[in-house]
Amino acid sequence: MAEHYSSFDRSGTKWLLQRVTAAFLVVVLAFHFFLLHFVNHAADVTFAGTSARMSTWTYFSLMVLFLVTATFHGVNGIHNTLVHRDGVDGWKQTAITAVLVVASLVLIVQGLRTALVWTNLF
């Protein structure tokens, strides 16, 4: 039995970033769920309430960082799952990477556009 098995290349920057974002997301995802389902019930969420939260620098910057790190962590995880398989290389690997990069950028841009509608910080 190997001492360690991981589908990630442990020497890579992406391996480290996946762990750093994981440590951040463990805390922020739990906070997000707790705040919007237990402190404030999801059914009671309104544009005005969201806008009030997003108009503080702390919450706004946390949510933007949440969006970016969750997108990286999730899409990088998918990338590793899809690419680290037998027979997935060359143009297939390039195509998967390209689709995931474009999807990530679309998600982040759309998330930022929505965040800017809520906030009065700018």
């Binding site: 098995y5 995880g77 799952t81 929505t114």
Partner: protein
């Protein structure tokens, strides 16, 4: 040092019967990861109704939250998120060289705590919909 194995494919029917705890943990982490990424894209799409006008955002939230199936799916989402978080912490510790000898026990603990938190959250998620 990382090593590669010929692990066969998960899709080989019947192979799950010989899975160890670590293999279930790997499979559950992949599954919950896919669900969470899928939800992330859906979540941003729903929140994007705010780009139209505040009324559409409010109506979308109220409309979705009035559906019992959405509340049940939220309970499922919580279960998925809690397991991914707890198993993720387990993986981070193992990557730091801590807890490999107790990796089976920590997986079972992740499952039990996920189950307990999920059951305890049901009244909160379902309040007012039935």
């Amino acid at each position: 040092m990382s090593q590669s194995y010929d692990r066969g494919t998960v899709e080989d029917f019947g192979r799950w019967r010989s899975f160890t705890a670590g293999m279930w943990a790997w499979l559950f982490h992949k599954f919950t990861g896919w669900v969470l990424v899928g939800y992330l894209f859906t979540h941003i799409a729903v929140l994007s109704t705010a780009l139209q006008n505040p009324g559409m955002y409010n109506d979308t939230i109220v409309g979705l939250e009035s559906l019992a199936i959405v509340r049940l799916l939220e309970v499922g989402l919580l279960a998925v998120a809690v397991f991914h978080i707890l198993n993720g912490v387990r993986l981070l510790f193992i990557d730091l060289g801590k807890g490999l000898e107790a990796q089976e026990e920590s997986f079972y603990a992740s499952l039990v705590i996920t189950g307990a938190i999920t059951v305890a959250s049901v009244p909160t998620f379902l309040s007012g919909v039935f």
